[in-house]
Symmetry: C2
Subunit: 142 residues, 2 copies
DNA sequence: TAATATCACTTGCATTTCACAAGTAATATA
DNA sequence: TATATTACTTGTGAAATGCAAGTGATATTA
C-alpha cells in the first residue's frame, strides 16, 4: 500500500519552505550549535542538548543534508567520525538565528547575555564574524 | 501516575526559548498570516493553509495565547467570533519572519516575488510598514 | 594480535502527536 | 422558530517521537 500523504502544503507561499525544513524542535538547535559553538560530530550534538534521542538526531542530520543545509564528510584523522559542516545555504541562516535570539532575549529570560549584547550592538559585525569563522573552518581543505 | 516529563531542555540557552514557542510546523505560519495577511479568526486560519487540523489549530492558538504572542478577544460585532491579534511580543517577530522569507527566497523556489523584493530592497521600511499596520489595527479601541 | 573502547548509527517498543471526520454549544440570521 | 455560522471538542487510526538496547566499523590499548 502506498504511503498516504498527509497535509497538503502549498509550497509557493513565502515561509512555507523555511518551515518545512526548520519547523521542528531540533533542526534550528543543531544549526545553532554548528554555527555558534563549532559542533561538528554526532557525539557533540548529542551532548550539546541532552534530551535529543539518537534516532531523531540521525533523522534530522539526514534531512538537513538532504535539504542542502549541511554536508557530512568523513574526518580525515578518524575514519569512524563524520564531520557535519554548514553549507553556504546553512550559514545563510545566521540572520534568522540572530533575530530569533534577539527576540527571545527581549521577551524571555535567556542566557549568554554577552553574546546577545554583541548581536544587538553590532549585528552586521557579528554576522560578518560568524561567516568569517565559517569560511576559515572550511577553506583549509583545498 | 504523574505525567512523565520527557526531554529535559535547558532554557537558559539562547534560541531554546524561541524554539520552544515556534519550533513546530504551524505556529510560524499562523503568525505570518496574522502579520502579513491580516487573518484574525479561526476560520480564516483554517482556510489560509488547508491542511491544518481543527484540533491542532485550536491547540496552537491556545499555546500562542499562553506564550503571550497572541491575544483572543471577542469580536464586538459578532459574539460568536474571537479575534486573534498579535501582541507586541508577537509583532516583534516580524524581523524573524522577514529573514526566514528572504532566506527561503534566496535558496528555494518561493512565491510572491513582489513581497520578497519589497522586503529585500528596503527591509527597514518594510518592517516599519508591518508595525504601523499592526498599530492601526489595534489602536482604534481606546 | 587480542581485547576493549569509541563512534555513528539502527531496531524495537511504548507513548505522544497528528490528520481527518464527526459532533457540540453559543450566537446570529431568516 | 428554523437554519447557519463560528469556534471549538471528541474519537479513531496512522505517523512521529522518546528511550533503551543493540550493531558494525574503526581506533586504541595491553
Amino acid at each position: 500500500m502506498p504511503k498516504k500523504r498527509r497535509g497538503k502544503r502549498r509550497s509557493g507561499c513565502p515561509l512555507n519552505a523555511s518551515v518545512e525544513m526548520l519547523g521542528d524542535r531540533w533542526s534550528l538547535l543543531i544549526i545553532r550549535d554548528m554555527m555558534l559553538r563549532g559542533a561538528k560530530s554526532y557525539k557533540e550534538f548529542l551532548e550539546c542538548y541532552e534530551g535529543i534521542a539518537t534516532n531523531i538526531l540521525a533523522d534530522r542530520l539526514r534531512k538537513l543534508v538532504a535539504y542542502g543545509i549541511v554536508t557530512a564528510e568523513p574526518d580525515p584523522s578518524d575514519g569512524r567520525k563524520l564531520n557535519y559542516l554548514l553549507t553556504e545555504k546553512g550559514i545563510d541562516l545566521a540572520p534568522v538565528l540572530t533575530e530569533m535570539v534577539l527576540w527571545a532575549a527581549e521577551h524571555e529570560d535567556t542566557g549568554n547575555q554577552a553574546l546577545v549584547r554583541q548581536m544587538r550592538e553590532n549585528k552586521e559585525q557579528f554576522l560578518a564574524g560568524v561567516r568569517k569563522r565559517w569560511a576559515n573552518r572550511n577553506s583549509p581543505r583545498p
